[in-house]
């Protein structure tokens, strides 16, 4: 009798634990689903054409299919009229600034990770560097904004002001025009976001390299390969899928940041796209922030529409990360 009751109790405990886990998972998913659903409902007004929607789904007119999405929301600049307002400047600005951030942060971050993981001697200095990088990853992004403002936007006042630059090359409207300081230009934004994501890129790349079995390295070194050959031919290829995943997740973080750019003083209203790296820009999260703070309900709906676009972009980023991990999975690792 007693043995059975203990067994039943164990099974019951097992079931209870399972139920608890299931509950936590479904609660998380439910909250997320509710959030997305409420944003979709709020944002649908400016994202979709209700006429075209009913034409396609109620009357089967497939010719209206491309008109379901209100493309003008994506191709118009910001406006005081909610029906005319769009996110073109913000989308282009976000893409530019993320591209610059990626071009700068990935080589630097991955390079640092390779050095620290594969080459650096294990001593007090590297331990200190490691400790600091981990700390930096936890610093609120707005702090990087303050650093970016001083270092990139104003450049410590060494080269005059943005409007009255002491050092500039090329005519103002040329695509290769560049000047110091960077002001509220794309370079200042890209560099500031680079500061935000660099620790994340370094840490995730190091984790990826560390996950490569050391037997592979030892085997390579044992047959006479130099550390450089081992790193470039063996360790790095094995770690690349995880490194890329980390890098893409870091980029989606960069895409969602508003706070550091707010500190730089980037504008909200801008009805141009950048011509060169010193041109002003705005980004999606900042446009959302501005619309959400307006008193009129229509602007809150616009903010929701822009959030949907941002979410779709982030889902695409993460989708690419998952795909790369599957595609490049190295049988060795």
């Amino acid at each position: 009798m007693r043995a059975i009751s203990i067994r039943t109790r164990r099974i019951l405990k097992n079931r209870a634990f399972l139920a608890l886990c299931l509950f936590s998972t479904s609660a998380t998913i439910l909250i997320l689903a509710l959030l997305i659903a409420s944003i979709m409902v709020q944002g649908s007004h400016f994202l979709f054409n209700s006429d075209a929607l009913s034409a396609v789904f109620a009357h089967g007119e497939l010719s209206q299919l491309t008109k379901i999405i209100r493309w003008e929301f994506l191709t118009n600049f910001a406006s005081r009229f909610p029906e005319k307002a769009g996110i073109y400047a913000a989308v282009i600005g976000s893409l530019w600034v993320c591209a610059i951030c990626a071009l700068l942060a990935l080589p630097l971050g991955i390079g640092t990770a390779i050095y620290l993981e594969e080459f650096a001697p294990k001593n007090r200095w590297t331990a200190l560097v490691d400790f600091n990088i981990r700390n930096l990853a936890g610093v609120p992004s707005i702090v990087y904004g303050i650093l970016g403002l001083t270092a990139f936007t104003r450049m410590f006042g060494l080269f005059g002001t943005d409007k009255n630059s002491a050092l500039s090359f090329g005519p103002d409207n040329a695509w290769w025009h560049i000047q110091l300081p960077f002001g509220q230009g794309l370079l200042a934004g890209g560099l500031t976001l680079m500061l935000v994501v660099l620790p994340i890129v370094i840490i995730s790349s190091r984790e990826a390299l560390r996950a490569v079995p050391s037997s592979l390295r030892q085997a390579s070194l044992a047959i006479g390969a130099t550390p450089w050959q081992t790193a470039s031919k063996i360790t790095l290829p094995a770690a690349i899928p995880s490194i890329l995943t980390g890098a893409i997740l870091a980029m989606s973080r960069a895409m969602g940041e508003a706070a550091p750019l707010l500190v730089l003083g980037i504008p909200v209203f801008i009805a141009n796209t950048p011509d060169n790296l010193n041109d002003n820009f705005t980004v999606l999260p900042f446009q959302i922030f501005n619309w959400a703070g307006r008193p009129q309900e229509s602007f809150h709906q616009l903010a929701a529409s822009a959030i949907v676009v941002l979410l779709i972009a982030l889902i695409c980023f993460n989708g690419v990360a998952v795909y790369l991990r599957q595609k490049l999975r190295n049988p060795l690792a």
Partner: protein, 323 residues
């Protein structure tokens, strides 16, 4: 309602202003260069509207408008980083001093009116009006009224919940100065948010709440809030577009400004932008939910701009110069 004569007068004045100052559309389309505007988020909707229309005509210029707040905007303006800054209060003495040190001259132009609106929860049946002394009791750090009964013994003995805009906003500065004086301190146990919608939600959700923000936020959320008429010494006045514009809603009617860098004003694109601003601000400020300036003040602004008169003019809410 405004009387027909005032409307006609305002109409003709704005027509005359438009004719006198506005560069023709063909000339606008030839302009190039960058016009950088930053500053108050309260003024932002008006400047955004002006920039949108201006950019539509002067297609080759690059007009950008930021929202660093009145204080943040002045910091950048006085460092010479922006051409124009939006402000929901006049420039402070220390800010003007910084500008002077950096050799930045500026032209101060009022562009619209806003009524600072004090609101309570609709379930609050006891507050039917407030005067400045009572507001001081509620908001001051020195003698904060913890309960409604501390303000008026006839009111319920329940804790007051205070909501306020952020300390970097011009709205906060203005409210503080009017109710508590230049050196007064606002109590610290209040809920602060830079986002006025949060204040609206806060006051709408608590029976014992009181808060303040720009009239536009009240107008959009009128059903969720109860407006408090303010007694500025001449009986309680309810804020409305009319009482704000004619200045009877005192002391919380305030003009909003743009400050133009004098050096930038010499550039044709900036000059054209300011011309365009003054010619269209009456119509556009109304469109985005603000109160246009009274006609005499519009004229004074136009005259200040025309003569490029430098420095702060110390406008009071009636448009007169304060000695």
């Amino acid at each position: 309602m405004k009387s027909p004569t005032t409307i006609t007068l305002a109409f003709f004045i704005s027509l005359a202003l438009a004719a006198a100052m506005q560069t023709s559309d063909a000339d606008l389309s030839k302009l190039t260069g960058q016009i950088k505007v930053d500053g108050s988020s309260t003024v932002y909707p008006i400047t955004e509207a002006v920039a949108e229309d201006f950019q539509g005509k002067a297609t080759k210029t690059r007009t950008t408008v930021g929202v660093s707040g009145t204080g943040g905007g002045f910091k950048r303006f006085c460092a010479g980083e922006t051409d124009i800054t939006n402000a929901s209060r006049p420039i402070s003495t220390s800010e003007a001093q910084t500008a002077k040190t950096n050799k930045i001259d500026f032209i101060e132009l009022p562009i619209a009116y806003d009524g600072l609106t004090i609101v309570v929860n609709p379930a609050n049946t006891w507050v039917t009006q407030l005067n400045v002394a009572q507001l001081k009791k509620i908001f001051s750090a020195d003698s904060p009224a913890k309960k409604w009964s501390d303000v008026n013994p006839a009111w319920p003995s329940e804790t007051i919940k205070v909501f306020s805009p952020g300390t970097d906003s011009g709205t906060f500065d203005y409210f503080k100065e009017v109710t508590l004086g230049k050196d007064g301190n606002i109590r610290s146990d209040l809920s602060v948010s830079e986002d006025d919608n949060v204040l609206v939600t806060g006051v709408a959700g608590d029976k014992n709440a009181i808060g303040y923000f720009g009239f536009a936020y009240y107008a959009e959320n009128a059903s969720k809030l109860k407006l408090v008429p303010i007694d500025g010494g001449k009986g309680a006045i309810t804020p409305s577009n009319k009482t704000i514009q004619d200045g009877t809603y005192t002391p919380f009617s305030r003009p909003m400004f743009i400050y133009v860098n004098a050096k930038s004003a010499a550039r044709p694109e900036v000059a054209a932008f300011v011309d365009f601003y003054l010619a269209n601000t009456a119509a556009l400020s109304k469109e985005v939910g603000y109160t246009p300036l009274p006609a005499p003040m519009q004229e004074r602004a136009a005259a200040t701009w025309k003569s490029k008169k430098l420095g702060t003019q110390n406008w009071d809410s009636a448009g007169n110069k304060v000695p």
